[in-house]
Symmetry: C2
Subunit: 458 residues, 2 copies
């Protein structure tokens, strides 16, 4: 029996025990957004720290932040082997509306191969997998194939407000070759997949001011600029009729997909009619010349997220409002830079301000750079091999349209790539009632993580 085979066998023998541990952890209502659950959040951190200490000779610390503690553990006993920073979180979404749950959200319940519990899928189950794989390696061979640093936070569901300052203050402690995230989710249950890119983000808000105060549209209408008309005119300049973004320079740095990449996306199982039906859209829309998946994953956008001004209540109020507002975010793809895109959009807006109104632009938080793993990334290759060995099929290579704050933080502050290696699935209702985690995914995840580490250590 090879060392890996022994580890896999050990994990398999431990399936029931590990599921029992997940039941234990998922019984702790560690709802980070609710101050009433502060003690539970604390208890979950303690539980994770205890499990890491029990897993093997880790140096384990619970590091306080202004919010929930970060559980940190490291084992650096594999000189010459790469170092992986394992990311996960022990906090969970609120369970509301509790009355829609078929079993109590914090009384984990097995039904038809699924463990129903708040947090079982996001992220307690997937996070526990990594700890249990470490435990198995230590139990069987007394060491891990790679150097490992665990960073398990307790504020992911509230936007990780203390993660960025923590990372900024602990770059040396966290130094690694790659981030492997136990958080995230596979695309669909039918096809194992790996995410190799996500879009970046850049946002701004604009205000157009017309008259100095709201005016009566009977007395004044038609003789002074109406900021709502101006806003409509200005926003309409941002896109061409065909759907392309009309901001000069917007596409300059966009790296076009290679024919191979386009073929890869085109080969993915995707039923556009089913998708449009699911989101209730009458037709696909967007930049011409690209498929829906290409538009969502590989093309930049400029989207209005909000626009408002004047009277919004019932009935009529005949006002020429003093101000109109809009919120804009752009999704970015390699090699667009958030600051540069904001500057281009701002220049466009200022150049097109309609006569009679004044523009004010405010910037949101720092933007997020788009992220793409090189296809020959060693960790990605190892993850592909681990999934193929576990599932017997070559995993799909997919991308994400959204922006992942955690990955963005590691990228921006430490220059680290993040490989998502979660065994949660997108359909597991993790922000809704009746969240569940598939028990077979727990088993598959244990095997796949063991294989991934083994590959990386070779």
């Amino acid at each position: 029996m090879t060392d890996l085979a022994a580890v896999l066998a050990h994990l398999e023998q431990g399936h029931d025990r590990i599921l029992g541990e997940l039941v234990e952890l998922a019984s702790i209502p560690s709802v980070s957004t609710d101050p009433a659950h502060a003690a539970d959040v604390h208890a979950a951190a303690a539980w994770v720290a205890t499990k890491l200490s029990a897993a093997g000779p880790f140096t384990v610390r619970r590091i306080p932040t202004p919010g929930a503690s970060i559980v940190y553990a490291e084992w650096l006993g594999a000189p010459g082997a790469p170092t992986a920073l394992i990311y996960g979180h022990y906090d969970v979404q609120p369970a509301d509306p509790v009355e829609l749950w078929h079993s109590p959200p914090f009384s984990p319940t097995l039904r038809k191969g699924r463990l129903y519990a708040r947090g079982a899928s996001d992220d307690k189950g997937p996070m526990l997998i990594a700890i249990k794989v470490a435990e198995a390696f230590f139990a069987v061979q007394g060491r891990l194939p790679i150097n490992v640093k665990f960073l398990i936070e307790g504020e992911e569901e509230t936007g990780s407000p203390n993660l960025e300052p923590f990372v900024a203050a602990h770059r040396e402690l966290l130094a690694a070759d790659v981030v492997i995230s136990a958080d995230g989710a596979m695309w669909r249950i039918d096809e194992p997949s790996l995410t190799v890119a996500n879009r970046g983000l850049a946002g701004l808000e604009l205000t157009l001011r017309g008259p100095g105060k709201d005016l009566h549209s009977g007395r004044h209408g038609g003789s002074v600029a109406n900021p709502l008309h101006a806003m409509a005119q200005l926003i309409a300049t941002l896109h061409q009729q065909d759907g392309r973004v009309a901001v000069a320079g917007f596409y300059d740095r966009v790296i076009e997909l290679s024919p191979a990449e386009r073929a890869e996306i085109a080969a993915l199982p995707f039923d556009e009619a089913v998708y449009l039906g699911a989101v209730g859209a009458s037709a696909a829309a967007g930049e011409p010349g690209y498929s829906t998946l290409e538009r969502q994953w590989t093309r930049p956008t400029l989207e209005l997220n909000g626009m408002w001004g004047g009277y919004q209540g019932p009935g009529q109020k005949t006002v020429v409002p003093s101000e109109a507002h809009a919120k804009i975010t752009c999704r970015l793809v390699p090699d667009q830079d958030p600051d540069e895109i904001i500057a281009l959009v701002e220049r466009h807006l200022k150049r097109h301000v309609p006569v009679g109104t004044q523009i004010t632009i405010t910037h949101g938080d720092h933007g997020a750079r788009p992220f793409r793993l090189a296809r020959d990334n060693r960790v990605l290759k190892a993850a592909e091999a681990a999934l193929e060995a576990t599932y017997g099929v070559v995993p799909l290579i997919v991308r994400m349209g959204g922006t992942v704050p955690v990955a963005e933080i590691f990228q921006r502050l430490m220059g680290l790539d993040t490989v998502y290696f979660s065994f949660s699935t997108g359909d597991e209702d993790f922000h809704a009632p009746n969240e569940f985690f598939r028990v077979h995914r727990l088993h598959e995840g244990l095997a796949a993580w063991a294989r991934l580490w083994e590959h990386l250590g070779q």
Copy 2:
């Protein structure tokens, strides 16, 4: 001494007594919008009815409505003479913020020739003038020069919700040749003026729907239609670059001003820079080829009064909203028809709906037709003569940009023109703290109303 001179002399001798009566009436806090003042509203109605009974041989009724009573009084003893329906109201605006008043709002106080009190200018003073003129005619000559019907309501400050059903149900009772309104206000204190036109109104609200629910702009952005983009594009089609309304047929029925009318408006004292400074606008705007007063008074408009969709709170929320909304009103000039304009705008909107969104249009209340007094209107001529005799100058002929609900109701339900003959002035803070009524306006109004009735009776 002619009969009129005797009436004028009688009124002049009564100045102090009449001012005392106004102080009495203005002491009643008849705030119609505040249920706590229901008894005061009732008391004001009783006061008005009592004064009408005391003024002469009127048939006086207090007619209940679902809200405040309407005080009705008639004297029809002038066969062959015209019948005037005199409109006014006994209710007042709230006094808030009370702390900004220099004297208590319902303790009428004389300072420098002004009577400070809530309602003194709007409309208790101007309304009392008409009653006191009737009293003087009866006292001096036992009769009025014309037939008179008083309609004094108590809900004007809450939008006259019961006036329209009342008028519709009492067309015969109210039958008259003209409405003379004691409500309204002269343009400016320096120049006596008569208002000969106001704009009509037509409104609609539209909703554009894109996806069936709010979508995450990361996952879905760029692949489905964003209703906010669509709204901006659609609204931008409503006006040409030069400011003209771009709806086909919108101007078809507009009667252009005659050169004489344009000259009349151009001759009015109006300082555009002062006006723009007062409203805080950086520049005049609107339909090319017209002055600011022409735009406000004589040109139709299409104005957005509200537009909204998506996220409006602080910070970013990366949503592609499901819906976007807009409220539109048009100001109409002769001979535009509200229903026809709504149909034209609706057709334009439906023709220009951007791909991927669906439009829903809802109509507001019935529209209001634009109103213009014929310049040879006999009552207008009499009013001009009365003002000239009172002030020694030819009154200015002005228009209003807004829509007057009361005049619109009489026009629509009874086909009656309304001549505004109020001695309130636009600067008397009637919807603000420290409302006042100029005592000399009270005196001038008494004389002018006596002359107006005398002219009409000839």
